[in-house]
């Protein structure tokens, strides 16, 4: 059984606590430290003692574990909102619990379009998988010399959603899809890659998968003598794990991100500086998304009041009766036509570097 950690990080030691739940795998815990630092900095203007309760089980939790975690969350006294859980699958598993308990659930990283219909108390921060798939398709189509691709996808909501988005985009751009191969964490990727190559050698590989599968597929393609670009969705952007698995093939990997640390706006620069000061590494897209999720809830508490309904009303009003919230990743609303800031990064010497829109490589 995975170890359970329940850590309450209080910003102020007050009797009347307002609690935000943070439900992510254990590797996300540092986000709390960054958020706490920013909240403490704003404490002079903040009359509310806001605390963040952190509940983590480790990586890749099954959906039933996510449900149990959500049940623990809603039982916490003073809980006003939750940021999480993990990716699309975990967030979808937990959504019924929060909707029953009428607690706002802000999902920073899940891209599954199913999250939009998970319930009125579930708010999806990341763009839909169809949008991301379309972005990936357009990126591949824009690369010179790419006429055919092979698609690998994890057989869950994230992978399937991205698969459908990419497939539609490739069809629109006239790119030949040689094969669509379902994979799982326990799959024999070598066989699946070899099998896929039987249907043709692609000009590029698209991976709608996590970092482990993406890195392994990139390495296998390089081993089989196919040094083609491997374009992955946001789920693969877990550094340095992706680089470690891909090894020499890492530099052939392109990853979609919702934000890049080299963004020049002042908010992004301040966030990067704070992140590096506290955690001694450069933040990636998921770091920024999770940070925006926490700070958006904090802002909602300050603006609308420390009640779940007030926070949910505030989130729904963004872009309508209220201006969009200006986060590190850009203006945030929860409207269907919300503009997205997708960025394509390329791994280079272990770092994720923004790909200029006119860069051919």
């Amino acid at each position: 059984m995975v170890a359970l950690a329940l850590i309450a990080v209080a910003c102020h030691e007050q009797t009347r606590q307002v609690t935000i739940g943070y439900a992510f795998p254990s590797f996300g815990r540092p986000q709390v430290e960054v958020a706490r630092d920013e909240i403490a900095e704003q404490a002079a203007a903040d009359r509310l003692p806001i605390s963040i309760v952190f509940d983590s089980l480790g990586t890749d939790e099954p959906s039933d574990i996510e449900v149990e975690r959500a049940q623990r969350m809603v039982a916490i006294p003073g809980l006003v909102a939750v940021v999480g859980h993990g990716g699309s699958r975990g967030a979808l598993a937990a959504a019924p619990i929060y909707n029953d308990a009428r607690v706002p659930q802000l999902v920073p990283l899940g891209t599954s379009r199913l999250l939009r219909t998970a319930g009125p108390w579930t708010f999806k921060l990341a763009p839909d998988d169809s949008v991301e798939g379309d972005f990936i398709g357009a990126f591949v189509a824009s690369r010179p010399g790419i006429r055919s691709v092979t698609l690998f996808f994890v057989n869950d909501e994230y992978g399937a959603g991205l698969r459908d988005g990419v497939t539609a985009a490739l069809k629109r751009h006239g790119i030949t899809l040689l094969d669509r191969v379902a994979v799982d964490p326990g799959s024999d990727l070598a066989t699946l890659v070899d099998g896929a190559l039987l249907r043709g050698a692609p000009d590029a590989v698209i991976c709608a998968a996590r970092s482990n599968e993406t890195g392994a597929i990139a390495a296998l393609m390089r081993d089989r003598g196919h040094q083609v670009p491997v374009v992955a969705g946001d789920g693969a952007l877990l550094l340095p794990n992706l680089v470690n698995v891909a090894k020499e093939a890492a530099d052939s990997i392109y990853v979609v991100a919702f934000w890049s640390a080299d963004a020049t706006d002042s908010m992004s620069q301040a966030f990067v500086a704070r992140f590096q000061r506290l955690l001694h590494r450069t933040p990636v897209s998921s770091d920024a998304m999770e940070h925006d999720g926490i700070m958006l809830i904090v802002h909602a508490i300050r603006e609308a009041g420390p009640s779940p309904k007030a926070i949910a009303d505030y989130l729904r009003a963004l872009g309508k009766s209220r201006p969009p919230y200006l986060g590190v990743t850009g203006p945030i609303t929860f409207l269907p036509d919300r503009p997205t800031r997708l960025t394509m990064l390329r791994l280079s010497h272990g770092e994720a570097i923004r790909v200029p829109s006119d860069d051919g490589q």
Partner: protein, 645 residues
């Protein structure tokens, strides 16, 4: 519980609020039943059905996918085609079969699954997905021609498929257990529902009992007290006082009842004293009227007889006569005011009644330095109404004005004006007192409203207005010019049979008139019967001087003796006499001398007897009230004879 000004505890829960709460309670009681069932039983059943349906759908989807993959697994057990092309077709078929089963189930679906089944179904989902991937791997190995590996992978596929079937069976077993458990829960819910209904009924019966008890205590009991009190009042018991336990609506009703019976009780006591005073006054009047009659007759005779009297003595005798007559008028007025009123009279000589009302209260005006302004005398026609009652109204208004003037320093003025306007006579009585306060004016004619505080009963003006309205008129508050209160009494002019205004009676002869009229009783034989010689003697002397032949008797029996030996034209008899009074004499004459029945004239100093007599066999026009002017007496004798003949 607070107290009202009367000391009775004030309850927040008055009857209106209690009724409202009762209705709300009944509504809540009635609506809570279905709400309870909807929430407790209906919601549970609905939730149970929804979850069961969800589990069934989820299990059905997984079973369908599992069965489809089992078909693919069976394909892998077939001999592998020897040629590459055959293997490729075989792999293609296998891939199509596998890809048709789609992706793994959404984790959102598992959130609705009972925890006991969640792991088993999730494992089934994982196995299905894993089996899909392994079949795809198997197909890839076939296409790659890596047949030994494909055969090894086939064994793995069988293992996973076996585990899948086991987990599917486990999920099915857990599902059935969950169904049984849910059925038990549903039965338990039903049992609790029945239990709840019983409790609810028990609570309802208890609440109904308490409500009935409160109703009995707060409504029924006071009503029974009120009913009993009204019965006692109807039987004449004005001492009844009802217990007032709570100052709610019924409590206030009982308080008003007690106040009214108390007022009625005081009024009855006043009325009793009033009647007793009337009787005393009547007795006194009889005793005083006889001496007054004697004085008046003696002085009249002395002044009328031809013997010379010095001017100074004549003046003094005239003064004595005037005062005696004045005292007589005053006594007559008092007797009339205090006598029981039959209410039968329908016309009023307002000239006379007004004069007499003023006479009654004139002494008070003098003592309290009240100046009376009667204005110019006006001869008014007769008006509709009862004289006694109208006099009561006028005396009440004048008395109220005098009371009001006590609060102001002299000069104190009361102005009385009578006006005739077409069909209506208007009597205005105003004063220069403090006037009526606006807050009192609005309720001035309501019962129990008084501007005199505890000194008044609060019924005087109410009764006065009722009397005026009974007579077809009205009594209202007017606007005067003296700055004080102003009351206007309006009365309808009485009409004769031909519709003309009925004139007032002509004024009687002036008592002090010095002109001696011609005698109307010359040579008449008159028997004067009176027990008091001081009265009998001067009357006899006057009658003789006027030419009559007069005999005297001291009582009825003496008169009867005289009747045996004498014949009389007229018998003038006092009513109250010893041995045989005037009535006894009259009734005896009826038997012994019926021809004399129409020739008996009665004298009485007690006007209160008039009513009794007039109700008897003695005609009312035979009564002459002492003290009477001797010339008036002469006229009465002459008129009686004229009528009798």
């Amino acid at each position: 519980m607070a107290s009202s000004p009367t000391g009775v505890p004030t309850s927040w829960l008055n009857i209106r609020r209690f009724s409202t709460l009762l209705l709300v309670g009944i509504a809540l009681y009635a609506t809570t039943f279905p709400i309870y069932f909807a929430v407790h039983a209906g919601r549970s059943a609905s939730e149970l059905g929804r979850r069961t349906e969800h589990v069934n759908d989820l299990y059905g989807t997984l079973a369908t996918r599992s069965r489809a993959l089992s078909v693919a697994v069976r394909l892998t057990r077939r001999p592998i085609p020897a040629d590459a092309a055959g293997r490729s077709r075989f792999a293609s078929t296998l891939r199509s079969q596998v890809n048709a089963q789609g992706t793994r189930l959404s984790p959102g679906n598992f959130a609705e699954v009972p925890p006991s089944m969640r792991v088993a179904l999730a494992r089934v989902d994982d196995h299905v997905t894993r089996l899909q991937i392994m079949l795809l791997e198997y197909a890839a190995l076939l296409e790659l021609g890596r047949l030994p590996e494909a055969e090894a992978r086939q064994a793995d596929i069988d293992g996973v498929n076996l585990a899948l079937q086991d987990d599917l069976a486990l999920a099915q077993r857990l599902g059935l257990q969950d169904l049984v458990k849910n059925s038990s829960a549903l039965r338990e819910t039903g049992r609790l529902g029945v239990q709840g209904v019983l409790w609810w009924l028990a609570i309802g019966i208890t609440v109904v009992g308490i409500t009935l008890w409160v109703l009995w205590r707060r409504v029924n009991r006071p009503l029974r007290h009120l009913e009993a009190g009204l019965d006692r009042v109807a039987r004449g018991d004005l001492d009844v006082r009802l217990p007032v336990l709570v100052d709610d609506e019924l409590g206030r009703l009982l308080t008003h009842f007690n106040q009214m019976t108390e007022v009625l009780h005081r009024r009855a006591q006043d009325q009793g004293r009033f009647v007793a005073a009337g009787e005393l006054i009547a007795g006194i009047a009889h005793e005083v009227n006889n001496p007054l009659m004697a004085i008046s007759a003696l002085v009249s005779n002395r002044l009328a007889e031809g013997e010379p009297v010095p001017a100074e003595v004549r003046e003094e005798l005239t003064q004595v006569l005037r005062q005696a007559r004045r005292a007589g008028r005053l006594l007559s007025g008092l007797l009339r005011f205090v006598r029981p009123d039959t209410g039968r009279a329908t016309t009023v000589d307002l000239n006379l009644i007004t004069r007499e009302s003023l006479d009654l209260i004139s002494y008070r005006f003098q003592v309290e330095e009240v100046e009376l302004d009667e204005g110019e005398a006006l001869v008014l026609p007769m008006v509709q109404g009862n004289p006694g009652k109208i006099e009561q109204v006028l005396v009440n208004l004048l008395s109220n004005a005098a009371d009001a003037l006590k609060e102001v320093a002299p000069p104190r003025l009361i102005r009385v004006r009578c006006n005739l306007e077409d069909e209506v006579v208007r009597v205005t009585i105003e004063d220069n007192g403090p006037g009526i306060k606006p807050q009192v004016a609005a309720r001035l004619f309501y019962p129990f409203t008084s501007s005199k505080g505890d000194k008044g009963t609060g019924l005087g003006l109410y009764i006065s207005r009722e009397i005026a309205r009974e007579a077809g008129g009205d009594l209202r508050l007017g606007t005067g010019s003296l700055g004080g209160a102003c009351f206007v009494l309006t009365l309808l002019v009485a009409r004769t049979a031909d519709g003309a205004p009925q004139p007032a009676a002509a004024a009687g002869p002036t008592p002090e008139s010095k002109a001696v009229p011609a005698s109307r009783i010359t040579d008449l034989a008159i028997l004067v019967v009176d027990d008091e010689p001081a009265v009998r003697s001067p009357i006899s002397r006057f009658l003789r001087r006027r030419g009559a032949r007069v005999e005297e008797a001291g009582d009825g029996l003496a008169a009867l003796d005289l009747l045996k030996s004498h014949e009389f034209d007229v018998i003038l008899a006092d009513v109250r006499m010893p041995r045989m009074d005037g009535v006894g004499l009259y009734l005896t004459i009826e038997r012994t001398h019926p021809a004399m029945m129409g020739r008996v004239l009665f004298l009485s100093g007690d006007i209160s007897q008039l009513q009794d007599l007039s109700l008897g066999r003695i005609p009312s026009n035979r009564m002459v009230i002492k003290p009477v002017e001797l010339f008036t007496l002469e006229d009465a004798i002459a008129d009686l004879l004229a009528t009798a003949s």
